[in-house]
Symmetry: C2
Subunit: 152 residues, 2 copies
DNA sequence: GGATTATTAATCGTATCCGATCTAATCGGA
DNA sequence: TCCGATTAGATCGGATACGATTAATAATCC
């Protein structure tokens, strides 16, 4: 794993792994959001997917997958669940039957408007650094994805 | 989700969610490490667990869980797999039969010594900011966990 | 225009995560 | 000492992730 150059050598502690910091921060977010999402009966991933769908109507599964960095093997079950909950609609595109178009139902849109978890900004303890951290972590992600893609 | 105060209001795009940045950065790390870990037949989580175990001998499952922010429901299957691969040993503590003690085998230690993924530091594209990001993300995690624990 | 190739979702198997529950072992107080 | 409470792992069911494969539809090429 990516260790700080500073600590290369003997100390192979978890605290020296950036990947572990990200891994565990992700776990922490999942737990922080859980009480909020439980109220509306959604999981973390389901909510993220719903937010991504609220961005634009009639997206395809692949288009959604690009935003979430996921593919149909992961998304299909989630989307079926969201449809079953009455939050989204799924239908084959008549112009290209291979594609499935996705759109929020009024119920789905209403849920998104609630803006759950805005309150959690406080809990991050980041204050004014919030946007900076967000940007840094996003760039980290993009760099890793680029590097991974590169040596295919 | 935690949006930047700056962007509160209309724009509910994924890029405004810190949790999504962390979520997707974690996915990206998993993919970046995959080719390296495939070589030794380990998964991301299994490797993290092994690193945590290399830190100290004869840890209990709970102690390991505290480091990884995981519990026995998640760890037990992983530890059984690692034992089955001959990388760790599991045995009940004679002094307290409720506890299971964990230790690396020579094979497990040898694998850790290889220091896989040190090469990935480059791919993060962080340069000198590496330690700063690591620290920031770790603190973010700790703040979230603390805030979550607080309202139990 | 018919065969080949490519694309899009869906399906399947494996490995996490997590809440809830269970069992065995230990502890503590009357 | 005896019994209820606590603790440590393990088990189970539901929900992600992901590689590999498949089925259906579209595009392409000769």
């Amino acid at each position: 794993m990516a260790r700080s150059p500073k600590t290369a050598g003997k100390g192979r502690k978890l605290s020296n792994f950036l990947c572990f910091a990200v891994y565990s921060a992700n776990l922490a977010f999942g737990r922080a959001y859980k009480p909020l999402l439980d109220k509306v009966g959604l999981t973390y991933t389901q909510y993220i997917a719903l937010v991504a769908l609220s961005d634009e109507d009639e997206q395809t599964v692949s288009a959604l997958g690009e935003k979430l960095f996921l593919e149909s093997n992961t998304l299909t079950p989630i989307l079926k669940k969201l449809e079953q909950m009455g939050l989204i609609k799924r239908h084959r595109d008549p112009a290209d039957e291979r594609q499935v178009r996705l759109s929020l139902t009024p119920a789905g849109r209403k849920l998104i408007e609630q803006d759950l978890g805005g309150s959690l900004i406080e809990a991050t303890g980041l204050g004014d650094d919030f946007p900076v951290v967000q940007k840094t972590v996003s760039e980290l992600r993009d760099n890793l994805l680029r590097a991974t893609k590169a040596d295919d």
